[in-house]
């Protein structure tokens, strides 16, 4: 018979005679038997208490759990608020950046339109191409006058490869770059020009002022 069954029968008063004497003897002599008996009574007591108080305990634990979730909620709300704030801030910042970019671009376009309104091509020199006769410079200017910019640029670059301070080549390259929309490149070529010679150049004024 299991110890637990013995304990139950002893507590229920179902042991008698030799069984009872033997049980009580073990209880007084065997430490483990005695400790287990104490634990058994504790377990029986637990079940009894649980039966009596389970309903009240469930109510208390229910309320406790509701209250505890309220502790967490303010923190969650803060987290939610922070998230919401970022959801508002980030699109606003992106929006502002896009607006700034658009505005800068608009200003750039406006400035260029103003420059273009005043811009004048250099006067036609009436030069001739290499095929007919003349120098590489004549030919380059000839193509510029015909607005064949790619061919003209190629020849001016060849001239500048030999003489990087070539005034006419730099002047025309300034124009070509400007007409291509490469203002910085245009400024670079114009910066090599002798201001005294080209002081009346409209492009110089527009770009360098």
């Amino acid at each position: 018979m299991k110890k637990e069954e013995l304990y139950r029968r002893y507590l229920a008063g179902e042991l008698g005679g030799d069984q009872l004497l033997s049980f009580e003897q073990r209880l007084s002599e065997e430490v483990d038997f005695r400790e287990d008996f104490e634990l058994y009574k504790e377990m029986e007591g637990f079940v009894e208490e649980r039966v009596k108080k389970m309903d009240a305990l469930e109510v208390l634990r229910g309320v406790s759990s509701e209250q505890k979730s309220r502790i967490k909620n303010p923190r969650n709300n803060v987290i939610v608020s922070n998230k919401l704030l970022w959801f508002l801030i980030i699109p606003s910042l992106v929006g502002m950046f896009v607006a700034w970019l658009a505005s800068s671009k608009m200003q750039e376009i406006k400035n260029r339109e103003l420059i273009m309104a005043e811009y004048k091509y250099p006067p036609n020199k009436g030069t001739r191409s290499l095929e007919v006769a003349g120098t590489k410079l004549d030919s380059a200017i000839h193509y510029f006058d015909l607005r064949r910019m790619a061919k003209s640029e190629q020849l001016f670059l060849e001239i500048l490869a030999i003489d990087s301070l070539h005034q006419d080549a730099n002047r025309y390259m300034g124009h070509i770059s400007f007409l291509k929309g490469a203002d910085n490149k245009s400024k670079y070529y114009c910066s090599k020009l002798d201001r005294l010679i080209y002081q009346d150049s409209i492009l110089l004024k527009l770009l360098l002022e």
Binding site: K2, M43, V51, A56, L57, L60, V63, S64
Partner: protein, 182 residues
């Protein structure tokens, strides 16, 4: 609700009384615990533990219920701090009059024993749990046998003994067992 009504409400599982206990007393415990090295969650757990101890282990109150809840909560917190060795960093240390008295200590120990039992009782099979509860509720042996499909009373009692044996083994394996039962 009066002090006594709150106590009785807690014991009888009156939800309104429990809600009132929470709204009236938890803020006091919370402010004290948070002022003494604890968090709101610590205060909540401590408060709940105190109420469960009173519900399960305190059958008669000699002073006011509110006073008992506050005192037990504070003392329990001091006890916790002492175990964590952080007591010297808190104001609680100065309140020498506050500490668990013998009776409170006993109640707390009994409560912890209850929690230990509960922890492993819940790990038993549903049949084991129901069997023990039904028998303790005074349901007749015949009815229990029928409800849980036992062929005889002998089988049923043998099963109950096996359930209790298993439960006891689990409890004894827990590190808190020796601390609580020595």
């Amino acid at each position: 609700m009066s002090d006594l009504e709150l106590y009785k409400g807690l014991k009888n599982g009156d939800r309104n009384a429990v809600l009132e206990i929470y709204s009236r007393l938890l803020p006091r415990v919370k402010s004290w615990v948070t002022a003494n090295n604890g968090t709101e969650a610590d205060a909540h757990d401590l408060f709940q533990e105190t109420l469960e101890t009173i519900l399960l282990k305190v059958d008669v109150i000699h002073s006011s219920f509110e006073g008992l809840v506050i005192k037990m909560s504070k003392n329990k917190w001091i006890d916790t701090l002492r175990k964590q060795k952080t007591i010297d960093k808190t104001k609680a240390y100065l309140e020498k009059s506050e500490s668990l008295n013998e009776d409170e200590h006993l109640k707390m120990t009994e409560y912890h024993k209850y929690k230990l039992m509960e922890k492993y009782f819940s790990k038993l099979s549903n049949t084991c749990q129901q069997l023990m509860v039904l028998l303790k509720e005074g349901v007749s042996v015949q009815e229990v046998m029928k409800k849980l499909n036992f062929s005889s009373a002998n089988t049923m009692y043998r099963r109950k003994a096996a359930c209790i044996e298993r439960w006891g083994q689990l409890v004894k394996k827990d590190v808190r067992y020796k601390e609580l039962y020595s």
